[in-house]
């Protein structure tokens, strides 16, 4: 009785959340295309002026709100059936409530227009996600994961507090508008320190290396739809804030661009290198999130660097690549996490080595998982390729037009981005191949079943979006133009990458020497034509087919003869083995405890317990104070 009431309440909250998100989508849609922002003040206190909950809807926040709302709606629909496995153990209505608060608070963070409102919504976001990470608290690992997450997220908040305090010392008005106005009056050293504080604080939340170690622990611990929200959206919200910080609150400088670029490369590479090692589905996806955040930061860093080199068109191209990648990653990563959730809910294991052959038992999940894997590995015809391609184009163009100092950096960056893409290929072929193909490696996988339509329909929609944006990327053109406009960057209209050229019969290929068109649709059309021809031909080949067990050198066929997850990635693991010897969490713990122990020993020496020693301290302080007073005038 209590359970069904709980379930009813959870469905009520979920429906309310979906309706609210649909309302938000409709509300912000005009702002995506308009250049004026809409201001909304939720609460302002007359006497304490720093208490101000005001929101502002401009092009960037409208874009993020759309992203958050769409992914939230799909995750909520998914969770209605997914949460059934928690029904007897925990309260479903609490999960629905926390999820709703989580997505609303993320919307609040990206829209906030005042430091106070930002901090309130940021804390709300951290707390609600913490509550969801420890939702399955009967498993001690999840509680530990929650603790690590709680500590790291509050460290991030601490750094952000310091950063905002540094920025606000010029005026008592803490609204983002005032901070933007004051940006030019900031001392460069102050700007540097504030930037470092922002980068560390936001970096912890984004999951950049070396602050990333909480992400592969916390994201898998949460229920899968929450993991989807966290990986797809929550790590992007700090990127939105970082864009505001660099372009609005501080004057963009070259060192900012290079540091973001460096962090992006390191995160991208190390994220994917660690992803290849993982045999736990959700940990692999979490490390892949770190990798994709790295790619977005590479785009953002490049755009700042190009801006300072006075190549505004290139800056806008790189910025567009970064924003496009944010959207693309949100789409396919949420689909992958929902798929992982389906696997976990039916097979009751997260270990890849226990899965296999799921494509026969869960065909729809497998199909949409395949489409998402193709997208995340940046394969052509899907949306992942478009953002990677834009990043490559910005790097290639920069080599032709940029300044000399960039000529050494950019080929190295290009090399690293290509390495990241190559390793992602290995990681995701491994994930799909071991989980879905071949024979089932354990009883868990043998008894799996297809999930209910409410669970695979969101994945279907997301996969469709992957294909759609891969073939029609220019649909978002006006939205990108508006977002770029908000940051005073021009739309790179001189490079009609996604437009179908009108001239087909042109006998002079030298005339279009500068442009590269995006041939996805054309090649898809030809591929389909050729496919039809081949199918036609093969129809006339009257051959029989039968199923039989494959030859296994005379031994009895056993599912353990297949490659395991570790063996699949073994060549690359062996090549990269030195990277796996680094343990980031212990590095930080060692630094922290080293400092702590040093302070403790110092304190023990100073607090000697000897009265005469203490009297000496008093005398020294008095004499020192008198000397200081005498000689400083």
């Amino acid at each position: 009785m209590l359970e069904s009431r709980d379930k009813f309440l959870s469905i009520l909250i979920a429906s309310a959340s979906v309706l609210l998100n649909i309302f938000f989508i409709v509300l912000v849609y005009p702002s995506l295309l308009s250049t004026e922002g809409i201001d909304l003040t939720l609460y302002r206190n007359e006497f304490l002026s720093f208490i101000d909950l005001s929101l502002r809807l401009d092009a960037l926040s409208a874009f993020f709100v759309m992203l958050i709302s769409v992914v939230s709606i799909l995750a909520t629909i998914y969770s209605v059936k997914y949460a059934d496995e928690y029904q007897s153990k925990y309260s479903l209505s609490s999960l629905a409530l926390f999820t709703t608060v989580f997505s609303l608070s993320m919307i609040g963070v990206v829209c906030s227009d005042h430091v106070f409102s930002f901090l309130v919504f940021w804390e709300l976001m951290s707390l609600s996600s913490y509550l969801m990470v420890i939702y399955d608290y009967k498993d001690k690992d999840n509680v530990n994961a929650g603790f690590i997450y709680f500590v790291m997220t509050h460290m991030a908040t601490a750094f952000l507090l310091v950063a905002f305090l540094l920025l606000s010392h010029l005026s008592s008005d803490l609204s983002f508008g005032a901070l933007t106005v004051n940006a030019h009056n900031l001392d460069p050293q102050l700007s540097l320190i504030a930037f470092i504080m922002f980068l560390v604080g936001l970096g912890i939340k984004m999951g950049v290396v070396p602050f990333h170690f909480w992400l592969p622990i916390a994201h898998p611990a949460a229920p899968s739809h929450v993991s989807a929200l966290m990986s797809a959206i929550m790590v992007k919200v700090p990127i939105c804030i970082l864009m505001r910080v660099v372009f609005d609150f501080l004057v963009p400088e070259a060192y900012m661009g290079y540091s973001i670029l460096g962090l992006g490369i390191v995160s991208g590479l190390l994220g994917v290198i660690y992803a290849i090692k993982e045999n736990d589905i959700k940990k692999l996806l979490a490390y892949s999130t770190i990798e994709n955040v790295g790619i977005v930061l590479i785009g953002l860093g490049l755009s700042i660097v190009f801006l300072k080199s006075n190549n505004v068109l290139l800056a806008s191209l790189a910025f567009m690549a970064a924003v496009f990648h944010i959207m693309n990653h949100a789409i396919y990563k949420s689909s992958l996490f929902l798929g992982a959730g389906s696997i976990v809910s039916k097979c009751h294991t997260r270990d890849l080595n226990k899965l296999g052959g799921l494509i026969h038992l869960m065909p729809k999940t497998a199909l949409f998982f395949l489409v998402s894997s193709l997208s995340i590995a940046a394969m052509p015809f899907f949306n992942g390729f478009v953002s990677e391609w834009l990043l490559y184009q910005s790097l290639i163009r920069a080599m032709q037009l940029g300044e000399t100092s960039l000529h050494f950096v950019l080929p190295i960056v290009l090399m690293f981005v290509a390495m990241i893409a190559g390793f992602a290929f290995v990681a995701f072929t491994k994930l799909f191949a071991i989980a879905f193909l071949g024979y089932a490696r354990s009883e868990n996988a043998k008894q799996a079943q297809e999930v209910s339509p409410m669970m695979w329909l969101p994945m279907a929609l997301l996969s469709f979006l992957c294909l759609f944006f891969g073939l029609y990327p220019q649909i978002m053109g006006d939205i990108w133009a508006n977002i770029l406009n908000r940051f005073s960057l021009p739309y790179p209209a001189g490079t009609p990458y996604f437009v179908f050229p009108h001239e087909f019969f042109n006998a002079d290929p030298l005339s279009h020497l500068m442009f590269n068109y995006f041939p996805s649709r054309l090649i898809l059309i030809f591929t389909l034509m050729i496919l039809i021809i081949i199918i036609f031909i093969s129809y006339f080949l009257k051959v029989k087919s039968k199923r039989d067990i494959p030859w296994t050198c005379g031994f009895e066929l056993d599912a353990t003869m297949q490659y395991t997850a570790s063996s699949y990635s073994q060549p690359l693991l062996r090549l990269m083995k030195n990277f796996y010897k680094i343990d980031f969490a212990h590095i930080f713990l060692d630094i922290y405890f080293g400092f702590y122990n040093f302070c403790k020993e110092l304190r023990d020496k100073v607090h000697s317990g000897n009265l005469h020693g203490y009297l000496l301290y008093v005398l020294l302080a008095l004499v020192g104070g008198l000397i200081y007073a005498r000689y400083s005038s």
Binding site: W389, Q400, G438, P501, N506, P509, I523, R547, Y568
Partner: protein
């Protein structure tokens, strides 16, 4: 623009359709030529150069055995891999720098299409559920991961030199000569590209296409469980990939003989020269195969790093060596 002379337009269309068709028809011929030259080096008579055609035709008539654990992926992906490889032929300049598809042939996209074909081949092989299947997939994925940076750096170097990553524009700029080979950075890029061909088309020293031993197979391991028409499609896709890559090598680095005007005589000469060039390339590949030993899998990164360093030097040297 609309008053194009009819014969010019039809010649244009002819070239655009003829060059992919010639690639498609002659792909097994070059595989046969390589096999023939290899046999000659071993002082054997060797199979006929048309043997791959006979093999493919034989395979099409054989029954198909599907592995027990295979799914629709095993049956569908050979079609997709073949269709994409054939669609790729449209984008590669073989005889001339003129084509109705010249706008669309972006180098990054072409190599990305090779990677998606590799993705399909890797997944379809694991579907069979045997050890060799996983072996082939794992090694193939390893190779793809290693060769990606080299490919991108090659594209970068070519783009810097010519100001675009459109393949037809690059060829149009460098047509009529050995210009490319006379710049030192182009020389490095050519060697790096040769190594890319060896890795992508899985020839010596990365893979031994004539054995089916665990130690030496990547390509064969991918195709081990295939039979009948599926095997024909996958084998043919590999042969076509090798032909496209070799043809690409010549378009970029030895484009002597390619035409940029629409004359039938020029086209005919260009086709003949292309056949000669490809035969010479088959000879060189066979010679290389017979004179080196196959690299252990874990030594392949050393070869690829060599290519990577060459490509990096080529890119950096654009800014040091200005005139030649």
């Amino acid at each position: 623009m609309l008053d194009i002379h009819l014969s010019t337009a039809s010649l244009y269309l002819l070239i655009s359709i003829a060059s992919p068709l010639i690639l498609i028809i002659s792909a097994p011929l070059f595989a046969g030529l390589v096999a023939k030259f290899r046999a000659k080096f071993e002082a054997r008579k060797g199979p006929s150069i048309f043997q791959p055609y006979y093999d493919l035709r034989k395979l099409l008539t054989k029954d198909v055995i599907l592995p027990e654990s295979s799914s629709w992926i095993f049956r569908v992906f050979p079609y997709l891999a073949l269709a994409i490889t054939v669609a790729l032929c449209l984008l590669v300049p073989v005889f001339s720098s003129l084509s109705i598809f010249s706008y669309f042939s972006d180098l990054i996209f072409i190599f990305a299409l090779f990677v998606i074909v590799a993705f399909f081949m890797v997944l379809s092989s694991v579907d069979a559920g045997t050890s060799f299947a996983g072996l082939g997939s794992s090694r193939e994925a390893f190779n793809v991961a290693l060769i990606e940076p080299v490919i991108l750096l090659i594209i970068l170097s070519l783009s810097i030199e010519f100001g675009t990553s459109n393949l037809f524009s690059i060829v149009a700029e460098s047509i009529h000569g050995f210009e490319l080979l006379s710049h030192p950075n182009s020389f490095f890029i050519a060697i790096a590209f040769l190594i890319v061909i060896l890795v992508e088309a899985k020839r010596f020293p990365v893979d031994n296409p004539s054995t089916h031993l665990e130690l030496t197979m990547i390509h064969e391991a991918l195709l081990l469980e295939y039979s009948g028409k599926y095997l024909a499609m996958m084998e043919y896709a590999s042969m076509l990939k090798f032909t496209i890559l070799s043809s690409l090598f010549f378009s970029l680095f030895f484009s002597y003989g390619m035409v940029d005007e629409l004359t039938l005589v020029g086209l005919a000469i260009s086709i003949l020269l292309w056949l000669v060039k490809m035969t010479a390339f088959a000879f060189v590949i066979a010679l290389f195969e017979k004179s080196t030993a196959k690299l252990r899998l874990f030594r392949v990164p050393e070869l690829v790093s060599f290519a990577l360093v060459l490509a990096l030097i080529a890119v950096f040297s654009h800014y040091y060596i200005k005139t030649w």
